[in-house]
Structure formats: C-alpha cells, structure tokens
C-alpha cells in the first residue's frame, strides 16, 4: 500500500473532492428543535471551527468550492458534487471527517494546514451526536446561471434555420443582390445610407487579396482600368480568381486557422508533425475543388470510416482526419489517463468551436455556467472520442500519435518491397564487412577474434578482451557509479576490460550501477549490455535507459547465454543527445539470482560516414595492398551504397490520423473533470439542446464518429451552416454578422442581421454547401464593393455594414505581398516544406532539433512556411500569427513597435527591398516609380508621395541603394499594410 493510499489526483481544476463510495443520501434526522445542550455544544465548540476554518471556501457568501456549503444544515445535507458531507451519527462514514484527518492525499481539508487534534475531536464528537445544527436556513447565493434546455431550444442559434423573405427597401436603385436588400433595409431602419462604390482599382486589389491572398498583377489592373464596363470586368476578375489554384491556398489558410493547424506539437517537448502537410494540402485541394462543406466535415471527422471509391478518395479521406490529430498535445504528460482525456477535450473543444461555435470544453468539469450544455452532454460526446484512438499507445513516457499508411499504386507497392529487400541485403553485407574488419584488426593487435556466429560458443573457456575491441561508445563496469556493494569478478573470463561486477545475490533493490555515457554526436544508438550468462543468474534484471525521448525499462534474462556473440544482449535502439543527460541504470530490484554487469556498448545506429582515415591516402604502389585499407574502402563503398538506397527508397506514405479504439462504448462522467473520479456512465450522443437529428444509434462496434459526422453536417443542424456562412462573411468583411465567429452561444454576440444570416445559411445548403458560390455572391454584392472608411461615430463598429471595413493584411498576405513585389515568390503549390523533416523520425529528439534550429529560407507562399508551434517565423510572430494552439476564426491585428522595427531593420525586408529595386532598375526609368506603387499598392503615387520619393532618389547615392530605400518605405507604409 502507499503510505497515504488512494488514487492520486493532479488536476488544478478539480478542487478537493471525495469519492462516491459508500455514500447515499443521509438526510434530515432532526426535524424537531434542538435541545439546549446540543445547541450550546454547536455554538461553543463547532461553530467556531467551521467559521474559522471552513466557511472561507464553503459558504455561498464567499465561495462554494466543490459545490459544498457548510454554512447551514441544508448545505451539508445536500453536500458537494460528490454527495452529503457527513452522515449524522456515523463519523466513520462522513467525508468531512475523512477530509480533516488528511488520511487521503486527495482529500485534505483545510488544504493548507491540518486542523489541530482538538478541533478534529470536536467535529468527530459533533457528528457522533447526530450533528445537531441550529442553522436550518440555507445560505444565499446562486449556483447556476445557465439557460435551461427548453429556453435554449428557442435561443436564436439553436432554433431551427428559417428562410426569411427578402425585405423591401426604400432605395430600390441601390441593391444588386438579396444580400444588399437585407443590409440596406437595416441601414434604412437605422437612418444610415450605404457608402459609395469603391474605385475599380481598389476593388481589383480587394478582390485579389481576398480571394487569393496576393495583390493583383499589373495586367489585371490594366484590364480593369481599360474595361468599358468595370462591373463586368470585376465580375470576370472574381471568376478568374475563384478558379485559380491560389484561391484554395488563401481560403485553405482560413480553414487551417480554424483547425489550429500546426506542424509540431508545441507544449512540452515539441514533437514534429512531419506528415501534417498532407492535411494542409487536403484543405487547399478541398477549397480548390469546391468540395461541399458537408462532405468536408464528414471527411475530417470520420474520413477513415467512409467508403472510398478509389485510392485517391481513400488517401484524401485519411488525410482529412488529420483535423483530429494535430492539436497541441503534451505527449509527455505522465498521467496517461489524464492525457487521454486532455486529447479528447481538445478534440471536442476544437470541433465545438470550428463547426458549432460552442465552447463545449467548459462542460468537462461542470455543467456549462451559461449555455444549455450539461456535463452529461459533454461526456456523451466524449464517449465517441474515448472510442476513437488518437494516441498510438498509452504507456510510453512520451507517447505518439496514430498514423495510417496511405494506399499506393500496385507498382509502387512492389517497388517498396524490392527496395526494402535491397536495403536489408546491403545492411547484412555491410555488417559482415565490418565484422571482417574487426577480426582483422584484432588479429593485427594480437587479440583473439570475437565470436562471430550464432549460436554463441560456450562461454567457458571464454577470452578476456580489451574495451578497444568494441565500436561506438563503450563503458566498462568500472565506469559505473555503484550504489551498494558490488563485487568484481574474473571468474568467467569472457569479459571486457578488467572483469565484471555482480551483486552477491544480496540486498535486492538496494544496489544499482549508473552509467553516464557521453556521446560524440546526437543520434540513434543501439544499446548493448554485456554480461556472463549462467544458470544461477537473475532472469529479470531491470535496466533503465534514460534517453532523449524519455526512459525505457528493459528486463534482461541473465540466466542464459547472451544472444549476440555470446556476450551481449541488445536493449534496443534509442536517441541520445550529445549534451543530454543520458544514462543507464542497472539495478537488482525485484531480482532473484545473481545480477552481473560487464560492459555497456552504444553502437551508432546509422554510421553514415565510414572510417576515412586511410581512404584518402594513396596506396604506395610497391606495397602489397593493405587488407585493412581495402576493407575500409569496401565498407565506405557499401555505406554510401546503403545511404543511396535509403535516400532513393520510395517513402512509405503515412498520414496523421485516428482509428477506431480497440474497445468502443459509452464513457462515464468525470466528476469535476477528474479522470479518476468516474460518475455515471452516459450513453454516447449529442448536446441535448440540439438533439438527435437523425435518430443515430450507438453500439459497441463503432465509435460513433460517423454518426457525429452526419449530425454535424446535417442540414437540420441549426448551428453548422450558420457558423460557417458567418465565417465566410467574417473573412470577407473583416467582421461577422455574428461578431464572435467562434462563439454562437449565450456569451457570444447575437447576430446584427439574423434574417440575413439565415438567408445565407439556407441558400448555402440549397446550393450544395458550395463555398465558391457563397463567396461569389458576397463579393459581387454592392455592399461588399462599398468604399472602405473610418467608421462614423454613430456606428463606430460598423455593425450595419454601411461601408467596407479597412483591414490590416494578415501576416501571410504581408509576406507574400513583399515577395510578389520583389518578384522572388516561388509559386509551387503543395507538398512538404520542412527541410530535414523527411530524415527525422517524427517522435525523436532529432525532430525537435529540426524545429529548434530551423532557419527559414524558402520563398514559397506563407501557407507553406513550416508552421512550428514553438519556433515561428519572426514575421508571423510580429504580425499576429503567433499562436496556433486553438481555433482562430478571426485574427487579431495589433500595431506594435516590433513591427516597425521589423520593417526598418529585418534582413528579410532589406533583402527583398533590394530585389525589388533591382527589378525596377531593369525597367524604363520613367515607369519605375509607377510600377513600384502599382505592384505594392495597386495604384499610382499621389503627387506628394511622388515628390517625397523623388527627393530621396535625387540624393547622391547609388541608384540601387536609393531605390531599395524607397521600396523599403513602400513595404513599411500604411497603404501596403492595410486593405481598403
């Protein structure tokens, strides 16, 4: 038993709560008035203790922690979240007493300082007496402010979708679309008038940046400027942009924000999501293909479960499920049960915000404080994800995620097979060459050869060998730090160095040997333990290997002859860091039989470079060929062949995904979110305020994700279409009809135009959930084409959309705009883009190193810039694209000095300004300033701007430098950063 037994809890959200065991309601025993002696005892002895030590946290007047009030009899009778606080007459069954005794580490009250024995005795006696308590009136203070389920069903966002009629307007001349009519009707009601139409060139810029994330080309500007019918030219431009692959890049980026897309895990040790790009590409492709949004949902939630028509569909559907896997998981959380629920929570929170605009995560610990979402609703959903496997295992110190292999064409499958065989053969040949070399060296050094083949030769008589006979990092038993008494022996002579150590077969659990290897370089090493095996040896010697990714315990059977060369067993291959605190501990804990340790060897798992000391020195022609040199060069050749084979092998494609859990079923409510405090099991299902739209049923065959996907993507779901069309609106206008795009619940902002929202949502569903149709309809509305201006004091937030909002460009638009201006933008679409990721095992220290030391150099679109959670591109961090840990429906747009410093001094800006200058210098002198302004700002300079630029250009300095300074000033100016 633990000295202080019971489960342990480690959650900051849970407070201190007892278990439910053995507790049923122990209610009012004392209906009649108290006798005076009882009253006196309470008043003199009990009340002072309660007042001084308990009520600070347990009275409605202050706090009601754990839901428990101790300020009145009804308070403790009702008890806290886990039941009544005490059983009158039965101290042994009373949680209160258990708590004050501090017997259970998880239930220690008061939490900071234990009561004195005398105080505890008073409470015990009081309960024994039947807990007489004159405080019969419940304390005041409300517990819940949440909306009831019934009220919730008629709340605007949970109510069924309407398709309201398009309203009449007074100014019939203005509206072009139904959107315009809805907005104008409201403006007229508010006494506002729409703003004038924006200039065609402004609209060309707006369209291009909004639909593709890039400024318009000079040709596009010219076309719009030359058009006799600018409206038609703009409509044509919109169609061109919608059809361009850059549309998917820009709009995929929006969705990636919602999906908190990143390419590393962030929290704790940041692990590299080297395959996350497949999800990114899936999203981009979905927008380009105008995949219906309901399909898009189903693929992301349950793509692995959907039937697939062909390999491409299967690939696409599997990659889509990356949505569930790419969260900021702390894979090293030690409490693995908690980790499972943290992952589930993150998934529920993300999909709640992304598709439903709900903060469902709040209900993990308690019924939602404001919204009609109960803890029961939460665990009904949690059951679906508890039946889904997201973590690859539940036991490693640092766990990993689930990957799914992607289907490949038959010929590729054959190729993979052939290549794997070739690599295995080469590895075997290399090993045999290395063995021959070792043998040769040993012979030269006068050392007997290492036993080479299995089965190993009998141990006796063995030969002692020097440590130098071994490759890699080698530690002798004498190098270990010994705890307890270990005896050196040379009895079995097959040892390395000066003998080996054994534990006398005594003081089990009290002896250990700690080896602290130093590694010449970080990398993967095979760890081998050498010992003389013998029948009196222990069969289960625990060896703990502390490597860069955590610790692993291996049990070694020393009862038989070691498998490798009769001397070693392999403990596995692990990643070690050069300067890491790595070590191996052999202990005699739990062993019966002698524990023996001779040496430890760490063999580099991939010796990429062969020994090269003699390779470069030319052989003297007169000499007979040196067999060592010949072998070495053969090894070098074989190694380079092997590395070539490995480099050229077809990478078996996998994607981050989920799968059905081994066992599927309902899960229990966790009281106050504590994973170890299971309450009632609740059937899987959907939040009651919306209900079961299609009578989905759940069984033990399925997780229920498919049912969830259907429920989310149902046209009857009142939230999904509303939330999504509002997102699209927000992305196009800068603010939403609902101004809290991730929060459609009671704490969010209600829609300014509920009828328009429902009109758009219904139409969206009618038109086959097509994003492109919706976008087209909005950008061709007259409302979207109004001029941008500073809001009027009468409507400072422009809630009525009586003009366009002026918006700061996103970080990516800024970077892509700079690269367009300089002409350096690399337009390649899709694919992986993290240098070094392909070679790193995703869950190794190597992978973290890729992120930590990453030098961002590529000039592809910002969508492809490695999206590490802990090491962001500096420009992204500076321009509000720093945090990608939670769904973001609307980016912030801060204005801070580090941005100005970035534009003034960052090498990227300077470099691109010089490239832009060189591009201009190749153009006719008279067109330079105009081209610069048109490329960057989609307009010509004003007279004042032209004057200011010219006066700098006229200063005596090299033109390239002067133009670079002008280009830099354009990059840094307001009109570059803001979209009108």
């Amino acid at each position: 038993m633990f000295p202080q037994p019971h489960f342990f809890r480690n959650s900051p959200w849970t407070g201190f709560l007892p278990t439910l065991s053995g507790l049923c309601a122990g209610v009012a025993l004392h209906a009649q008035p108290l006798n005076p002696a009882d009253t006196e005892f309470f008043e003199k002895m009990v009340r002072p203790v309660l007042d001084a030590k308990c009520l600070e946290c347990h009275s409605p007047a202050k706090k009601v922690k754990g839901g428990l009030s101790l300020d009145s009899k009804p308070g403790w009778e009702k008890g806290g979240d886990t039941g009544p606080a005490l059983v009158p007459g039965n101290p042994g069954e009373s949680l209160l007493l258990k708590a004050v005794h501090w017997a259970d580490r998880d239930l220690q009250m008061p939490p900071k300082k234990k009561l004195s024995d005398a105080e505890i005795a008073v409470l015990e006696k009081w309960i024994q007496m039947g807990a007489p308590d004159p405080r019969t009136e419940p304390g005041t203070g409300s517990r819940s402010t949440a909306m009831s389920m019934e009220a919730g069903r008629s709340f605007w966002s949970y109510a069924p979708l309407q398709n309201p009629p398009v309203p009449a307007v007074r100014n019939e001349a203005w509206p072009r679309t139904s959107i315009d009519r809805f907005l104008l009707a409201r403006m007229e009601k508010e006494g506002l008038a729409p703003a004038p139409d924006a200039e065609p060139s402004v609209l060309a810029r707006r369209l291009s940046l909004q639909l593709t994330g890039l400024p318009p080309t000079l040709e596009q500007l010219d076309q719009v400027a030359a058009a006799t019918d600018p409206r038609e030219a703009l409509a044509h431009l919109a169609d061109t942009l919608l059809a361009s692959p850059q549309f998917g890049e820009a709009w995929g980026r929006h969705w990636l924000d919602v999906a908190r897309f990143a390419e590393s895990s962030g929290g704790g040790r940041t692990l590299l999501f080297k395959d996350a790009w497949r999800y990114r590409d899936y999203v981009v492709e979905s927008y380009n293909a105008d995949r219906p949004f309901d399909v898009f949902i189903r693929e992301q939630i349950a793509g692995d479960l959907l039937p697939a028509a062909d390999r491409d569909s299967r690939t696409r559907q599997l990659c889509a499920t990356g949505f569930l896997a790419i969260g900021p998981t702390i894979y090293e959380e030690q409490d693995k049960q908690r980790l499972r629920f943290d992952v589930i929570d993150e998934q529920i929170d993300t999909l709640g915000k992304a598709f439903l605009g709900q903060t469902l995560g709040c209900a993990r610990c308690h019924d939602h404080k404001f919204d009609p979402v109960s803890q029961r609703d939460y665990y009904a959903l949690a059951g679906i994800f508890a039946s889904t496997r997201t973590l690859s295992n539940y036991t490693d110190n640092v766990v990993s995620w689930v990957t799914q292999p992607l289907p490949v064409e038959p010929e590729i499958s054959r190729r993979i097979e052939v290549e794997s065989r070739a690599i295995a053969d080469a590895e075997q040949e290399l090993q045999s060459l290395k063995n021959r070399l070792a043998e040769l060296r040993d012979r030269k050094a006068g050392i007997a050869k290492l036993p080479e083949k299995k089965p190993a030769p009998p141990l006796e008589p063995g030969v002692a060998l020097p440590l130098s006979a071994l490759h890699g990092v080698v530690l002798d038993d004498q190098d270990a730090k010994a705890v307890g008494e270990w005896k050196t022996s040379t009895f079995f002579p097959a040892y390395f160095g000066t003998g080996y150590l054994h534990d006398h077969n005594r003081e089990k659990g009290a002896k250990s040997l700690t080896f602290t290897p130093k590694f010449p370089k970080s990398g993967s090493y095979e760890v081998r333990l050498s010992f003389p095996g013998f029948p009196d040896r222990a069969r289960n010697v625990p060896v703990h290997i502390f490597h860069a990714m955590g610790d692993t315990t291996v049990h070694v059977d020393q009862n038989k002859t070691p498998e490798i060369e009769g001397r070693f067993v392999s403990l596995g291959t692990f990643f070690f860091e050069k300067d890491g605190d790595s070590y191996v501990i052999v202990s005699n804990e739990g062993t019966s039989g002698v524990v023996c340790v001779d040496a430890l060897q760490f063999l580099p798992a991939d010796e990429k470079q062969g020994p090269k000391t003699t390779d470069t020195s030319p052989a003297t022609p007169n000499d007979a060929p040196d067999p060592v040199a010949a072998l070495k060069s053969a090894i070098a050749r074989k190694e380079s062949q092997l590395s070539k084979l490995r480099g050229e092998r077809f990478p078996v494609p996998v994607t981050m995904s989920v799968r059905e859990e081994d066992t599927r079923g309902d899960t229990a409510i966790r009281i106050r979110g504590d994973v170890r405090q299971a309450g009632k099991t609740v059937p899987r299902g959907f939040p009651g305020v919306i209900g079961n739209l299609h009578a989905a049923s759940f069984d033990s065959e399925h997780s229920g994700r498919m049912a969830l996907a259907d429920w989310l993507s149902s046209p009857k779901n009142p939230l999904t279409a509303r939330v999504y069309v509002n997102r699209v609106w927000t992305w196009l206008f800068g603010t939403g009809i609902v101004r809290t795009p991730d929060n459609f619940a009671t704490t969010g902002t209600p829609p300014t135009h509920p009828e328009l929202l429902d009109h758009l949502a219904s139409r969206f569903i009618e038109q086959g959930w097509s994003t492109k149709k919706l976008v087209r309809e909005i950008v061709l509305s007259r409302a979207w084409q109004q001029v941008a201006r500073t809001p009027a004091p009468t409507d400072p937030e422009n809630r009525f959309f009586s003009h366009m909002n002026r918006r700061r460009l996103d970080a990516e638009q800024i970077r892509d705009g700079i690269l367009s201006l300089s002409g350096q933008l690399d337009p390649r679409i899709g694919g992986p883009n993290i240098v070094g990721a392909a070679d790193a095992a995703a869950d190794s220290g190597d992978a973290s190193k890729v992120e930590f030391g990453y030098v961002f150099t590529d000039v592809r679109r910002s969508l492809y810039t490695p999206a590490f959670r802990n090491n962001r591109l500096e420009l992204f961090a500076a321009f509000d694209f720093g945090d990608i840990n939670t769904p973001v429906g609307q980016r912030h747009a801060s204005t801070v000095a580090p941005q100005a410093l970035f534009f003034l001094n960052h090498p990227f800006v300077l470099e691109q300004a010089r490239a832009a200058a060189n591009r201009l210098l190749a153009e006719p002198e008279t067109e330079r300033l105009g081209n610069l302004f048109r490329r960057a700002l989609s307009r010509l300079p004003t007279a004042a701007e032209a004057r200011a630029c010219s006066s700098l250009l006229s200063l005596p300095m090299p033109p390239a430098e002067a133009w670079a300074m002008v280009a830099q000033s354009i990059i840094g100016c307001i009109d570059f950063r803001y979209l009108d």
Partner: protein
Amino acid sequence: MIPSPFLSRRTALHRFGCGFGSLALAGLLGQNRPATGSQPAPHLPPKAKRVIFLFMAGGVSQVDSFDYKPALFQHDGQMREFADLRALQRGEKTAPKFRVMKPLWEFKQRGQSGLWTSDLFPSIAGHMDDICLLRSMHTEGVAHGPATLFLHTGAANFIRPSMGSWLLYGLGSESENLPGFVSIGPSLGNGGPRNYGNAFLPARFQGTALGRAGAPLKEIAFRNISASRPPEAARRQFELQQVLNAEQLEPGDTQLEAVLQSYELAWRMQSHAPNVVDIQRESAATRALYGIDEKGTDDFGRKCLMARQLSESGVRFVQVNYALNSSSNPAWDQHSNMPQHAVHAQAVDKPIAGLLADLKARGLLKDTIVWWGGEFGRTPYAEKNGTGRDHNPGGFTMWVAGGGFRPGHSHGATDEFGHYAIEDKVHMHDLHATLLHQLGLDHEKLTYRHDGRDYRLTDVHGDVVRDILA
C-alpha cells in the same frame, strides 16, 4: 497635456513635402517623453513595482539546497516506501521502495535569521537575511512540459497568458522605450514561447525574448534593434517612411495613427535600447560582483546584470533563464548524477548573490521582487536507486526577496524527508496570487473576457499568503 505624439497629415506634408534637407526629424522623434496614454490603475497600494524571476529550469533539489532535513542523514541508504508520483500516476497499487539519499552538501545556519541552507549556494547563503524561503511549495505536472507551463501560465494544458503578460495587462508598462516584459535566454523546449506568450490577451502584452537558451551572448539582444544602414541613410529612409505614412493617414483613424506611433517608438527604441543593455558601462567592481569575465559565472552573470539594467529602466517583468536548449533534459534535471548540481550552482550562485547585493546597494530591492526557483523540486530518494533524483512537484522550495516580502524568514514545511509539503502549503496558484498582490493587483479582479468567460491567472484558485508579507 502631453503633445500629440504623431504628426498630423497636414503638418507632415507641410514639413516634409518639399524635401529633406532641413529636417531635424531624428531629434524630434528621438526625444524622451513620459509615458503616454492612460495606465491601468492597480487594485491595491503596490509594495513592489517590478519582478526579476530567476528561472532554474529542470528543478533544483530542495533537500540539497534550502530545505534542511536531518532525517535524510539518519536514514541515508535505507529502503523505504514513498508515495512516488510517477508510480501513483501510473496507477500502481503498491508503493515502491526507494533508497533514501542524503544531501550531498553540508547544511549550516546562516546570518541573523539562522536559516539552514546548504553549501550548494555559498554566496546566496550570505544573503539569507534578505530572503524569504517558501519551503512548502507544491505545483502541478510531473513532467517538465506541464510543470513549466503551469509555473509560467497557471495552467498545464490550456493555453493561457504568461504571468508577465498578466502583469502588463494589469499595470501597463513603466517604460516608453522598452517592452514591459522581457525573457532573457528562454528555451524553446517545455512550452517554449507559450511561457512568455500573451495567449488571448492583446499582442502588446506579449513577452519579448532576448536571445534563446544556448545561444551565444551576443545574440542576447532586442530583435531588429540595430539600424540596418549607416545613420544618415537610416534617418533618410525613416523620414521617407513617415512622410508616406503621414500622407496615407486618414485623419481620425486611430488604427492608422497607431502605425505612425509605432514607428516613432521603434525609432526611440533603436537609439535607446542598445544603451540599456550595455555591460560595458558598468564599473569593474560591479562586473566583478556578478562574476562577469570569470570562468563558469560569466554567462549567467551578464544575464543577471542585464536584468538589473532592464529593471532599472522600467521593464516590469524580467525573467532570467538558466536553461539549455534541449528538448528533454533541462539544466537542473539531475536524474542520474546529483553532483552535477554543483556545476549549475556554481554558474548561478555568484551572479544571483551579486544581483541581490547590487539591487540592495542601489535601493532597488525594496520595490523589486526577486523570485527564484524551478518548475518543481526533486525527490528525497534516489531515482531507480541510482545516483540521481527524480522530479517532485509535491513539495519543494522557491524563494523571494525584496518587494515587501518578509526577509530572513522561512514559510511552511515539507514532511520529515522533504518529499511533500504538509504545513502552510503554498500552491503555485497561491504564489501567483501573492506576487500579484505585492504588485498591487487582486488576482480575483485581474480578469480578461475571452471565449465568453472571465479568465484569471489563478483560474478559480489561489490565496494570498499573508504570512510572508513584511
């Protein structure tokens, strides 16, 4: 009334529209002014104005440093049952036995206060009369990642703002020319930027990293602060920048005006910040005090001295990280080799003592909180019965000095082995609440509305530890 910090479009055009020759813009923009804008008001009379947090990444062993446990000497080498947190979290039903391991350093009583501390930190030991030990700390998270995030943000899994960001949000910045929250040499591991991130608070409250763990000292500097061109050219480009901005400004549009302001602040920082963090302008005696130019202590000494310079210049929260840029084992993480603690202690001991002495001599200690410690402590028993100690969030020591904390005092206690806090326990939430309190903020009132609810640094927990206030 403070003059408008930016130029109106009209003024700018008037001034710059006809050329650059006669401009004295640099001087105009470079002048120092008192802080503009409305500063948020504190909730309480503040006892301290700023914090220097000396973060010992990886977890210093309390039983080898500040938490004296004679029982460890008595029972050294014995096998005993311990409620090991990893075993508990694995759900093991029986308590494993571990070998009690005595401290590797000798304990003595120090100063007037007579506090017992070990020879691990001999120089800091000389300042015990200025220090308030918190020997009953406990926190959340058995692994570095969660515990480090918890220390900095009050949450392990949820994405929350860092304490320095909360402080800026609550109190505003003291300096016009410098960011208000700086982290010197932070690690990218164990949460990385989240440990100085603003999360859902506005971006202006984010921490500014100076360099990163493991990077050479010359990279410990504000980013993009050095002018990219010779002074004359830099000024010209800056002038053109501001002329264009003034031309493009729409009068009354505050978000556009903010762009001009941001450039002005940038320009001031450019001329001001490099002088703030300049070790060269310190006397030889001061440099020696911090162990600068001395083997072993130079790196952390420079960082501590920078921290003082930044604090002196009005940076509200300075964190000095003693950390490695490693994904797995932070600096103090001695699982296998406790003697290694000596190497780390040697690197920080003199610089920290120097910092305390220097702050005191300058009269800064009274309103500066110096806060020292790691994300958790270490076990009093040997890990896997080897020669190191494992993580221990159940009980450990942190200390605070200055800033209105009770000097020469020890608060709370762990059990007889130094394993779990048992007396006057101070949860990390409590410490956060107390630090905010000293800075004039009520941790229950310092809230920010996000996702439809009010968030706090201390979630729904935390009590001010009044016993440690002077």
